[in-house]
């Protein structure tokens, strides 16, 4: 956990009072809706189909139990008793009243939570690996650097009015859980030959209507130069990114139009001016930030405690343990993923009661800490193995022990036409139907790792391009039509999925997915060959044949 100091707290409070003043000026009519729109978007407030939607940042996915309790409080007091976790380590409240927003923000500020730059054309919430600091084999905790970037990007005087939104993600593990290749800037923490911390910097990744996988712009940027290098990229983008067409305004289009070589030359030239400036970070600064991350005092505990041995006789516990429990860097502990994807429910939602209960469980079993991942699930990052059976029982009572993490029912979906004013088609009902089709745990387990991503419009908030199976809802002649892609992935081998054929109607989507899955089960070389690997080996054709043979 990062602990805010007085300086951080002051800034958050100053932002709350500024926003209160902005809302007041809107309510009094002093600001037009057009003027206010820009200001509310700088602070995570969208106007949706039915109400204002309020997006709150959970920087790099780290959350303390008291913060989660306060999110539950906001859900209960100002919303309809639930919140929705997003694919970028945010939580959204869908029914909040404009006049209540300043109070909700002030309540959140009490626990060091804010909504700064969770929307708008600025540098968005910095995201990272939800297992940061606990994953075995991690080079070092990327959250130190994430926090450095969080501070540097907050209310930035030069880059708060960019051509378009700008997202940064960081990972420090070989396995990329932060989807860095589909971010405007992706940072992979590495060590130089001399053992110095630095970053491989990727640029120009992104989804939306023109998806691109990010390209490496520099193989090694020393940690001390991280801010100046990011600043150089942003300065080039701020000046030359397109502002004539909102659909061509992301940095990926600039990188694509200039070519990565020319773009990187521009950045390099700018960086030569900036690298020896006050943006250079010395070790002392990094140590200061590190010192405000609180790490648990782990006990020396057995790798295989009696409690775990005994519980192994319980099949439901074992199914959950095998699915949701991952190795921790400390052998007596585990990382526990909490699926927010129960069968038949909207992906990523949690009720206020669940949030409160999870906060209690985090206090009891995870040193008061939780994580939020881009898959719209939560995690308890430091659970002693002896506590796993008790934790499972408690989660099961709360409806939070669905053993489907990374399985076909662990679906990522945007809010879609049920909430969003941009959507052309429904997403959540598709996800709900799919979870019912594959509700049988043995079947889902037999299929193995398979990510389905659903977006209700071309803006791709459900990251459909990088789903193993991607489902994109569009509107055609007044009807919802769904285009289906296969073979996408968002990890270190990120790739965009390929279309399997013509779009299908709402009622047919689940049938088509079943056909694709049946084809995979028949085609895979062995049970360990993942769906996405079979697609890579065989291409789209055999799946296409299977789906369209009878349609």
């Amino acid at each position: 956990m990062y602990a805010y100091d007085e300086i951080d707290r002051t800034l958050v409070n100053e932002r709350v009072s500024e926003f209160r003043d902005q809302v007041q000026r809107r309510l009094s009519g002093e600001l037009t809706e057009d003027e206010f729109k820009m200001l509310r978007l700088q602070n995570g407030v969208y106007l949706q189909l039915h109400a204002y939607m309020f997006r709150v940042a959970i920087p790099y996915g780290t959350l303390a139990s008291n913060q989660l309790r306060q999110l539950a409080h906001v859900a209960r007091k100002y919303d309809r008793g639930y919140g929705h976790f997003t694919t970028r380590q945010n939580i959204q409240f869908n029914w909040i009243k404009l006049s209540d927003l300043p109070d909700a923000l002030a309540d959140l500020a009490e626990v060091g939570i804010h909504a700064m730059q969770t929307s708008g054309n600025n540098m968005r919430n910095v995201t990272s690996d939800q297992w940061a600091g606990v994953a075995p084999g991690e080079i070092e905790d990327p959250r130190i650097w994430s926090e450095l970037i969080r501070q540097h990007t907050t209310l930035h005087p030069e880059f708060s009015f960019l051509p378009r939104k700008f997202k940064i993600a960081i990972t420090a593990s070989d396995h990329d859980r932060a989807a860095i290749k589909v971010h405007d800037i992706g940072l992979r923490l590495i060590k130089s030959e001399k053992g110095e911390t630095g970053f491989e910097v990727l640029v120009g990744g992104g989804l939306g209507r023109t998806p691109f996988i990010g390209k490496t712009i520099k193989h090694f940027v020393h940690g001390r130069d991280l801010l100046s290098y990011i600043e150089a990229i942003l300065r080039v983008y701020n000046q030359y990114g397109r502002r004539d067409n909102i659909y061509k305004a992301r940095i990926k289009i600039l990188v694509h139009e200039l070519g990565i070589e020319k773009f990187s030359r521009e950045v390099e030239e700018e960086w030569q001016h900036l690298r020896n400036s006050s943006l250079q970070i010395d070790d002392e600064v990094i140590e200061d930030i590190r010192s405000r991350f609180i790490y648990p005092a782990y006990e020396k505990l057995p790798h295989m405690p009696d409690e775990l041995r005994q519980a192994a006789a319980e099949p439901d516990f074992e199914a959950w343990r095998k699915n949701s429990v991952a190795p921790h860097k400390n052998p007596g502990y585990s990382i526990v993923t909490i699926s927010l994807k129960p069968i038949g429910a909207p992906p990523g939602d949690a009720t206020a009661e669940q949030m409160d209960a999870l906060a209690d469980l985090a206090d009891k079993y995870s040193f008061g800490e939780l994580r939020v991942g881009h898959e719209q699930n939560l995690a308890l990052p430091h659970v002693a193995k002896r506590d796993l059976p008790a934790l499972w029982k408690a989660l099961d009572k709360l409806g939070l022990a669905t053993p489907n993490v990374n399985l076909i029912t662990d679906i990522i979906a945007c809010p879609g036409l049920d909430y969003c004013s941009l959507a052309n088609a429904r997403s959540i009902p598709i996800a709900q139907e799919l979870t019912r089709r594959f509700a049988n745990h043995e079947l889902a387990n037999l299929i193995g790792r398979l990510h389905i991503n659903i977006s209700g419009c071309i803006n791709a908030c459900g990251h459909h391009h990088v789903g193993h199976i991607g489902i994109l809802g569009v509107e055609k002649n007044g009807e919802e039509v769904y285009q289906i892609t296969i073979g996408g992935r968002a990890d270190e081998s990120a790739a965009l999925g390929n279309l399997i054929g013509p779009g299908v109607k709402f009622d047919e989507v689940a049938d088509v997915v079943e056909d694709i899955v049946e084809a995979y089960l028949a085609l895979r070389e062995r049970p360990e060959e993942l769906f996405v690997d079979t697609v890579k080996r065989l291409g789209v054709e055999p799946f296409k044949e299977r789906v369209y043979a009878t349609r």
Binding site: E14, H156, P157, E158
Partner: protein, 171 residues
């Protein structure tokens, strides 16, 4: 449109010239970049101060040879969503060492003041009277700044370092 200068509403001594407005004999003038560059020597010789209105899509480096001779640079915000002039302002102040007056023009509203001050602006053609009147109050809204810019405000990182060192004394 009120001008805020030195934190207060002030008179604007400058007259803005279009590309083809006849040149007044005397008095302070603000000239579009193109006209200025094509006739800089003559303009700088006449009595009265000269300022340049620089568009946000033209390389500010072109103005560098004249920075010691002009009285003001007016940068343009065609609308408040368009933030290119923030970069131009910082380049002028921090890279090219410009110390003269730097004016924000266009859609300049209250909620941009702090960003603009931090980027190096010191005068503001404010769209709304009420915003101009609220300038001082708004400018003091924030006391914490995370980024180093040329405005000299101390950053959060440096404050922490100072605190650390002062706490370190005697321990």
């Amino acid at each position: 449109m009120p001008l805020v200068n030195g934190g207060k509403i002030a008179d604007d001594s400058f007259v803005k010239l279009a590309v083809d407005t006849p040149l007044p004999e005397s008095g302070d003038i603000l000239v579009p970049a193109e006209r200025f560059l094509s006739d800089a020597d003559a303009l700088l010789k006449r009595a009265g101060k000269v300022g340049v209105i620089w568009p946000n899509n033209r390389d500010i480096a072109e103005l560098v040879p004249y920075l010691g001779k002009i009285a003001t640079v007016a940068l343009v915000f065609p609308n408040f969503r368009d933030g290119r002039a923030y970069s131009q302002a910082r380049l002028l102040r921090e890279r090219y060492g410009y110390r003269g007056d730097l004016r924000a023009t266009g859609q300049v509203l209250r909620d941009q003041f702090v960003f603009m001050l931090r980027a190096g602006f010191d005068s503001f053609e404010v769209k709304k009277q009420a915003d101009a009147e609220a300038f001082m109050l708004t400018a003091k809204r924030y006391s914490v700044f995370y980024q180093p810019t040329g405005d000299g405000r101390i950053t959060a990182l440096h404050r922490r370092m100072q605190l650390r060192h002062s706490e370190g004394v005697g321990t």
